[in-house]
Symmetry: C2
């Protein structure tokens, strides 16, 4: 997915938000704006928003000296998500369609996103998403792809959401699961330790994609990821950042996400706040 | 009022909005972003948002070659506002407090603002503001200042709102009224011809402040305005842009506005969407 014009004011908004968390004073935030402003002319609209996100957060980290501004927020998100586990396990156990319910829960976890411009209430959003209609649902294809797959590459998104991903992985059956995280801290995206803290090492092997952007940019991925991306029977991509980088790839894969901003909604031809299970390049 | 950090992403948002109205294509909007990005480092937070607004809209106008992108929108706003006049005159005629009701209507007109990031419904907003509590109300001071004034300088804000200002001016009694507009088209701010189209020449003398920003910046004002600003018995300032430039002046004056963004609300210590009649430097 290419960068939309709407993404540029959003980068400034994200710079403000991250600056308020990690900068030592307003002067430092202004300095962040100055440096982000200066690089706008070098942005081509042909690249994905996640690639520019990487540039913006790199500037923030360089100016503030804070490598992981969302560390505390990520830890809190994981803790909050874990508190809901008994309730969510109960919901799955009572469900007529355990896999679909676990997919809904994994999508609900995707609202734990501090990059996008919105506040959220985790419990309320889960309740909504448990009964919300899908704007795009390739669930039947997804179900049969899960059934026939031996190896599944599961590309994670945000810390906290990781806890709910574990619930979905537990419903995928006895498969070899590789769970993918980012190479370095960026916004509240999950890195290796966040995945471990979320219990994902109990149900999967955790690897880094090698990417330093808030998404999956194939040109930035390491060999291990690229090999698995090629060879895995099934690829599951969570969230907006991964969609941005992978929406145009040639292999079959499934996007599970909630469209949290107008730009992603427009690209998917759905409405903001819609939820989707979208398969591409299906046989 | 100084520029807040929140204003900088808002300038980018405004550039997008105005670009979409006046640019010939997306490439031209990207060019606008590039040029706005480049000047951010030169922004000092000591100046008012209106001064930077002037820079941003100057860039848009230079790149697009469109001098008055909001011309059609302004004409439509004036036409729409005029349609409500019979109803609003009836509301005033039935009111226990004609002056206060006319003040409310003039404030309601202030929502016709295409700079700030919101959509609005004119009729609905008027209905709300007719019964809304004031977050700050110096109405009694305002009333007595009106009573004793012989000369009133009324600083207008947006085209369309001008129509409602006329209704308030008609309630001010037999005074010498000078109505102030911007020097050049900027966003949907009223210029001379908008004031005339709104019927203001029937009830006041219309002058330009000389300012090319979406507000009143005293250092940019012409001599005629500055003399009147000094000598008038009463000064009424409408809207956010004028507040930004005049909030720290030393003479008595009254601000009539709705706080349409978080930044103005914060500066006034009220909540977003609150309405105010605020007098400063009152004896």
């Amino acid at each position: 997915m290419k960068t939309y014009l709407e993404c540029i004011p959003c980068f400034m908004q994200q710079a403000l938000k991250a600056g308020k968390i990690s900068a030592k004073d307003d002067k430092q935030i202004k300095h962040i704006f100055d440096e982000v402003g200066k690089i706008i002319p070098s942005f081509s609209m042909e690249y994905t928003p996640a690639e520019y996100g990487a540039e913006v957060y790199k500037i923030i980290s360089e100016i503030t000296g804070v490598k992981d501004p969302y560390k505390q927020i990520k830890d809190d998100s994981i803790k909050d998500a874990k508190k809901l586990i008994p309730y969510l396990k109960y919901v799955i156990s009572k469900s007529d369609n355990r896999l679909l319910t676990a997919v809904r829960i994994a999508i609900a976890g995707n609202i734990i996103d501090f990059g996008v411009n919105e506040t959220f209430s985790l419990k309320d959003d889960i309740e909504k998403i448990l009964v919300q209609d899908f704007a795009i649902s390739d669930f039947n294809y997804f179900k049969s792809a899960v059934k026939s797959a031996k190896t599944i590459l599961y590309i994670g998104d945000n810390a906290g959401e990781t806890v709910f991903d574990k619930l979905l992985i537990e419903e995928l059956g006895n498969k070899k699961i590789i769970y993918v995280v980012r190479e370095i801290p960026i916004i509240n995206d999950a890195i290796y330790e966040d995945a471990v803290n979320s219990g994902l090492s109990e149900v999967s092997e955790i690897i880094s994609s090698g990417v330093k952007a808030p998404g999956t940019i194939l040109t930035q991925c390491n060999k291990e990821f690229l090999n698995l991306f090629k060879s895995s029977d099934l690829v599951i991509s969570k969230g907006q950042g991964n969609y941005e980088g992978l929406s145009d790839v040639k292999r079959p894969l499934f996007f599970l996400l909630k469209a949290k901003c107008e730009v992603i909604a427009k690209d998917l031809n759905v409405k903001k706040n819609d939820i989707i299970i979208k398969g591409i390049n299906l046989a």
